[in-house]
């Protein structure tokens, strides 16, 4: 594995870009360029800044440079029977840790084990002035200073560039079973929510409009007992199936039609009018395909207490994320300026205005 520290070079590029007011577009493995608004600027690749810098299996901590491929991290963890609990999607083999954190995306285990931000213990970041700053650390509990590390997760590189991150990792479960049952939409939603309130070792749930998929993980005996109590047919190629959902290679996600993501309260009724689409996260993450009016999607999501994102495809020069109320937008603008006063880091990728 290649180990390289190019943070000094990166800092210099950002410092110069800041002085020249030259916008930069941060690129890692190049697998999530589709996400967020389309932006222009000089590409700044961080993929050369790579390597695992510290891994202590018994401390449950791994630190790696932003350009480290997720596959490299996950195989190092697998050697010690551990994993990244938030199951970051990998839309290609080159996907990096930095990209996973900048986009803040989490996989099927999200409602049960937590999100990308939940497992970030610390970061080293370059702010928009090219200053190299360290926040958090490599310990589980740390409340010294504002939690800038978690703030970076999902900020799409607009507050600066994550150079290195320390993550909490967890043991892989000894056993896993996925059950499949035919359910109608309302029953599927009810089942997912009911199981979430019971002490079963549930670690993923999805509904494709016809079948409900439930994954249980833990000790062999515990998983078998849960399967017996919950009932359903056992899925044989379960790992591949959940990976296809995580990485969007499942047939629902392929093709060119625009993909909308709705993040909703898990119990919000399924809107038949829009089609059921694909449901994950116990009902809290729902996917729809096809051309849809953005304003209508945002309005519909907001009405039930959620938000909508034009995740992939469609018009990426307009807004793709749910617009913010003005008071929140004002705080976002001021935070952006606090980290990146000249607006050079991934400008306009999150919202058109900045």
């Amino acid at each position: 594995m290649e180990l390289r520290d190019i943070s000094a070079d990166l800092a210099q590029v950002v410092e110069q870009a800041s002085a020249e007011r030259q916008p930069l577009v941060v690129v890692g493995g190049g697998t999530k360029g589709f996400y967020g608004r389309r932006v222009d600027g000089t590409a700044l690749s961080v993929s050369g800044h790579r390597g695992i810098t510290n891994y202590e299996a018994t401390e449950l901590v791994l630190s790696a440079r932003a350009g480290t491929p997720l596959v490299e991290i996950e195989s190092a963890l697998a050697e010690h029977g551990q994993m990244l609990p938030f199951e970051p999607p990998r839309f290609g083999p080159t996907a990096t840790l930095g990209g996973a954190l900048a986009c803040g995306l989490s996989g099927p285990a999200r409602p049960y084990r937590g999100a990308a931000r939940d497992f970030v213990l610390g970061t080293r970041v370059l702010n928009g002035r090219g200053e190299s700053l360290r926040f958090g650390g490599e310990v589980m509990k740390n409340v010294a200073g504002y939690d800038v590390s978690r703030l970076m997760v999902g900020a799409l590189g607009t507050l600066g560039i994550v150079l290195e991150a320390s993550l909490k990792v967890l043991p892989r479960p000894a056993a896993e079973i996925t059950l499949v049952r035919d359910e109608d939409p309302d029953a599927a939603l009810t089942t997912m929510n009911a199981l979430g309130g019971k002490p079963y070792p549930l670690t993923a749930s999805a509904y494709d409009g016809e079948r409900l998929y439930l994954r249980f993980s833990g000790a062999r005996a515990a998983v078998d007992a849960a399967a017996a109590r919950v009932g359903g047919e056992r899925l044989s190629d379960a790992d591949d199936w959940w990976r296809s959902v995580r990485d969007h290679t499942h047939p629902f996600f392929t093709g060119d039609a625009p993909l909308w993501r709705l993040s909703l309260p898990a119990t919000a009724p399924l809107a038949e009018r829009e089609g059921i689409g694909f449901v994950e996260w116990g009902g809290a993450q729902r996917w729809l395909r096809g051309e849809r009016a953005a304003e209508a999607m945002w309005h519909q999501a907001q009405t039930v207490g959620g938000h909508a994102t034009l995740y992939r495809g469609g018009d990426r020069t307009a807004g793709v994320f749910q617009p913010l109320p003005e008071a929140m937008a004002a705080i976002h603008r001021r935070l952006k300026r606090a980290f990146d006063p000249h607006g050079i880091c991934n400008a306009h990728r999150l919202y058109a205005e900045w």
Binding site: R134, K141, A144, Y146, V153, A174, A219, R334, F339
Partner: protein, 505 residues
């Protein structure tokens, strides 16, 4: 605890008495326009109870205490503070251990005790929506009929409030498995210094824009005032069992912790206590701890019956192979509660050995434990102050308790310095100065050791994005660069003469 008073950072120099009286009267009359007289406190004798939080070494009498009971009133209080450029400190139950809710003598203390209602417990959505003054334990009690509970359980959970928990990002004995406050809060309503009401997060699992919910957690009242909290409720585990192992060498206990985790097991709780802490606690709580052991480990496993049965055997094997001199499994729920009661009463129990104790809160990479304990014991000898250690072993969070007597001249100063050295040792081994109690006023100098000037400057810029005039809890959590420069200079002095005050005791 000690009555000693300290030189503290405040936004402005304390005002003269005449100025203070004038400002107190003018503020009180502004507040009385929309608050009933019993909610505006400005008589000196009635202000006294508010002069300190759980860190009673630090005291200040505020200009005025206000106790609003509606969000609209909080908005108006903050708008007035903004207009009159008066600093304001929010306070929940006042149980914090870092002086985060210590009032400022030129400021308003905004008490949220009247915000004590549970607004909604929804068993299907598994959420609780509560006001910030609701006690931590009250949430789990209210959720209990539905088989649900709120996971973070700081030792003070019987008294501490959820608003304070969010402000400090509180932990507890179960956070290795179930996370800190930040992992268990879904939505916050917060009033800004401009008096504007904002909502962060929501009932869904993420929100558009920046993760301000995470930024608010642990922000120590520096960015806004929390007026409503929605938390996640979890299903009560089917079973929980507690094992207690005794060791004749604390390093073996440390090795057992690493061994349990290497075996792929994440216990619900994994606590360590050293010899002195065991002895004091057993004297106090009579919970059945093995007095004389160098260390004990309390390991709780929870989950389904099958999961716990399997893990219990493996944990026992690890304890034994790590050199445990005895391993005992709580026979029933009553014994499990009794063994936990000992741990949860460790602070007051240890406090009986001396007139005062001072609780530290550093976190270290667990593998450095033997070295850190060794160096703390050397320092303990140097300062002639005993230390008992209780330790959230699973996540590396140390709570050394320094025993002292504040009535002995100079002893508090010595204790404080000893504490500072412990925290700086935590930073040196790759840890942090605070795992769960917050920086407050207490650890403000150690922030200079943990962070570089550019990082502190970035923190100040974050604060300015919310509170441009610096009126919310000023002087806490993040030191000024000037203060760090002065602290750095003091350090050089210490290097020349390590314990300049010792001969005075």
């Amino acid at each position: 605890m000690t009555q000693a008073n300290n030189d503290l950072p405040t936004a402005d120099a304390p005002m003269g008495t005449a100025d203070a009286a004038g400002r107190r009267a003018s503020l009180a009359s502004a507040f009385l326009r929309f608050l009933p007289p019993e909610s505006v406190i400005c008589a000196p004798e009635e202000l006294r109870p508010y002069e300190t939080d759980g860190l009673s070494a630090f005291r200040r009498v505020p200009l005025v205490v206000v106790l609003p009971d509606t969000i609209e009133q909080v908005q108006r209080v903050l708008a007035i503070c903004r207009e009159q450029q008066v600093p304001v400190v929010a306070r929940g139950a006042g149980t914090g251990l870092s002086g985060g809710a210590m009032p400022l003598d030129n400021g308003v203390l905004l008490g949220l005790a009247k915000f004590n209602r549970i607004l909604d417990i929804d068993p299907v959505r598994r959420i609780a929506r509560v006001q910030p003054g609701v006690r931590n334990l009250a949430i789990s009690e209210a959720a209990s009929p539905h088989g649900l509970y709120y996971a973070p359980d700081p030792s003070s959970q019987i008294a501490c409030t959820i608003g304070g928990n969010v402000a400090e990002n509180s932990g507890g004995v179960h956070c290795l498995k179930y996370g800190l406050t930040v992992h268990n809060v879904l939505e916050l309503k917060m009033v800004t210094i401009d008096g504007e009401l904002l909502t962060f997060g929501g009932e869904c699992l993420d929100a558009p824009g920046y993760d301000l919910l995470a930024l608010m957690s642990g922000s120590e009242g520096m960015l806004g005032v929390i007026v409503e909290v929605t938390v996640k409720l979890l299903p009560r585990p089917e079973v929980a069992i507690l094992q207690m192992a005794a060791f004749d060498d604390i390093a073996n206990a440390g090795a057992a912790v690493g061994g349990i985790i290497a075996a792929g097991i994440i216990p619900a709780g994994l606590e360590m206590m050293d010899e002195l802490a065991i002895r004091c606690t057993e004297d106090f709580a009579h919970c059945g701890y093995p007095v004389g052991a160098a260390a004990i480990l309390l390991c709780e496993l929870d989950g389904t019956q099958e999961e716990v049965d399997e893990q219990m055997q493996r944990v026992r094997a690890v304890m034994e192979s790590s050199g445990a001199t005895s391993v005992h499994i709580a026979a029933d729920e009553a014994e499990r509660q009794r063994l936990w009661k000992g741990r949860k009463s460790a602070f007051p129990a240890t406090g009986r050995l001396a007139p005062d104790y001072y609780c530290m809160d550093g976190t270290i990479p667990r593998k450095r434990l033997p070295e850190v304990l060794q160096r703390m014991s050397e320092m303990s000898a140097q300062y002639s102050l005993p230390v008992a250690n209780v330790f959230h072993a699973g996540d590396g969070n140390l709570h050394p308790l320094i025993l002292f007597d504040s009535n002995r001249p100079g002893e508090w100063k010595k204790t404080e310095e000893f504490g500072a050295r412990i925290l700086e040792l935590c930073v040196e081994v790759g840890g942090t100065i605070t795992g769960e109690h917050g920086v407050g006023v207490e650890k403000i100098n150690q922030m200079c050791v943990q962070f570089q000037p550019l990082e502190l400057a970035q923190f100040h810029a974050v604060k300015a994005a919310f509170d441009g005039d610096g009126l919310l809890n000023p002087g806490k959590a993040v030191p000024t660069l000037q203060r760090c420069a002065e602290y750095g200079a003091m350090h050089v002095h210490h290097a020349d003469a390590p314990w300049p005050d010792l001969e005075r005791f």
